[in-house]
């Protein structure tokens, strides 16, 4: 029972698009996750990816960053084909993206600062220790952690702080692309809102392109430029939230017009101008 794709203007490709996915197929045994999935992420945008549980959001991210070999289709990241590349070839490309995993995925035997230094040491062994420590310190500061967190072990941090530390490590190499897997899941509303502002501020300051998987409607309304909706193994719609609301796909309507969706929209409308001001000051302050 394939739903026809809702009527959004066909996506026009652009040579500078950092992520281009065409005809992606992923299956585990008989279980098909993606059938003919296509998606383009534009340079400098925050793209939110939503979908019900089990629609393959995380699998999509793992395919893009090369952790999951797709059954068919092509993925091009920053002009390089991920699907054709061998392991050795795509080393360079790994220096140009940063990934924040759901639980932070910090190396538990290293301090936060040493975690941030790992990718730097790996790719640029010529950097001096003094510079490395300083880089780790300002990355940690950029991620909104107190400066003494640099010398702490992941086990000594709270869940929210682990996510920020994971973000600091994802930003270690000054990536062009940032992948965030449910960054606000498990955070309290205040922490989640702060993380959203931080993401937006970093994206503006560092000129990042952000691929953001989330279930958090507030995040979608607050910081996402566009939202891609996954269902039936494909991207059924991509666009700004008003554009998505204009479609008649039942899942999208349910998602954004359910009680939680309405609450998020109302709070966005109420916060309105005030939120914009907060965003700007946060961007400037970081």
């Amino acid at each position: 029972m394939d739903q026809p794709a809702p009527h959004l203007p066909a996506e026009t490709g652009d040579a500078t698009d950092p992520i281009v996915i065409e005809g992606l197929v992923n299956r585990f045994g008989d279980h098909v996750i993606h059938r003919d999935l296509s998606l383009r992420v534009r340079k400098g945008e925050i793209l939110g990816v939503v979908g019900g549980s089990g629609t393959g959001k995380s699998v999509l991210m793992r395919s893009i960053i090369g952790l999951q070999v797709p059954a068919a289709g092509s993925i091009t990241v920053l002009g390089r084909s991920i699907t054709d590349a061998r392991d050795d070839d795509d080393i360079d490309i790994r220096a140009r993206w940063g990934v924040l995993f759901q639980g932070g995925a910090l190396f538990s035997t290293l301090t936060v600062g040493e975690n941030v230094e790992v990718p730097l040491r790996e790719f640029y062994p010529e950097l001096g220790d003094a510079l490395l420590h300083e880089i780790a310190a300002y990355k940690v500061m950029l991620s909104g952690l107190p400066e003494e967190a640099v010398g702490k072990y992941p086990a000594e941090l709270s869940g929210g702080m682990k996510k920020r530390a994971g973000l600091a490590r994802a930003l270690a190499l000054d990536p062009e692309l940032l992948f965030l897997d449910e960054p606000t899941a498990g955070l309290d509303p205040i922490g989640a809102a702060a993380f959203d502002r931080l993401t937006r501020a970093l994206q503006e300051t560092l000129g990042l392109t952000v691929f953001l998987i989330t279930h958090d409607l507030d995040t979608l309304y607050e910081i996402c430029d566009r939202v891609a909706v996954l269902a039936d193994g494909r991207v059924i719609a991509v666009g700004t939230i008003p554009e998505l609301l204009a479609t008649d796909h039942p899942w999208i309507q349910q998602y954004f017009n359910g009680p939680r969706g309405r609450a998020a929209r109302d709070s966005r409308a109420r916060a309105g101008a005030a939120a914009d001001m907060v965003d700007k000051s946060a961007a400037g302050g970081a």
């Binding site: 001096g128 510079l131 500061m141 400066e147 190499l173």
Partner: protein, 366 residues
Amino acid sequence: MRQPAEFSARDDGTIALSGPLTVATVGPLDQALRGLDQPVGAVDLAGVTAIDTVGAWTAWRLARDSGAEITGASAEARRLIDAVSGARADPDVRAPRAELSERVPGAVGDLVVGWWQGTLGVVGFLGQLIVALGHILRHPGAMRGKALVRQLELVGVSALGIIGLMSFLVGIVIAQQGAVQLQQFGAEVYTVNLTGRLAMRELGVLMTAIMVAGRSGSAFAAQLGTMKLTEEVDAMRTIGVSPMIVLVVPRVLASVLMMPLLGFYAAVISIIGGAAISDVALGIPFMTFLLRIQEVVPIRDLWVGMIKAPFFGAIIAMAGCYQGMQVKANAEEVGARTTMAVVQAIFMVIVLDAFFAVFFTNIGWG
């Protein structure tokens, strides 16, 4: 080829940075700038072709340390410098570490306290186990039959292959090496006595215990440790299910029941191995070897092995379960506790075996 980041010092004290100022290129430049000992009047970024936060940090640090102005910065460079400024100059990325004079007494103290708490923990664990066993004696329905059968299979049945192979090879080695030595006295016929008595009394059970500790003791520690980490054990407690009865008792009982069976099996296979090599290498026919075994191995030797086996099984299972239940912090601890479970189990098995050897000799079962 990457274009390097460079700097030049002008006469008026201005340091001019040029080229791409990014994480990929800034390493050598940073080293050179740190070695610089001349007053810096200003840092000029007009010649910079590309910049990221690492480049911005390098420029800003240079300017801050020498009290200089940053000039010629593009809007992007200015934005990045604003973003990174304010970070600490001398960050300490390592966890704080005390002086050696404090660390040594601290480590000794930790060791003593840890040893004492470990002793208490073992006693507590034994007590809990006895209480759980008592509970099961009074309420036999509380025994988890399915879990026990499952553990019997894992500890016993699925170990038959590897223990059989190991015992067969050990039997070959004893018979062959023993024969080489006994030949010097023209007494190679005593190879049968050597193989049969060693296998029944000592090696069958001991080698089995080592294998069970490696296979099952480690599995117990890792399973229970992971269950502790994922809060499964806590969930059981809140539901009112005793982890002792559900997790520990079936594993301990399975080991206690299976060790004698496996030990006997190992002894028999060792003798078969010895008989096989004697047939091939010593000219003692296979069946003759087996018939001689009946004559030269007293039945007491079998009892010696079978009496020891359940004790070894209990030690292995309790070490594994105890270490598993002690896991608290992280994945690393699961590994450390698993290692400890196996090392402790094998060590205690060998210590106990020595006691048994002296004991049985003294009661005239030598």
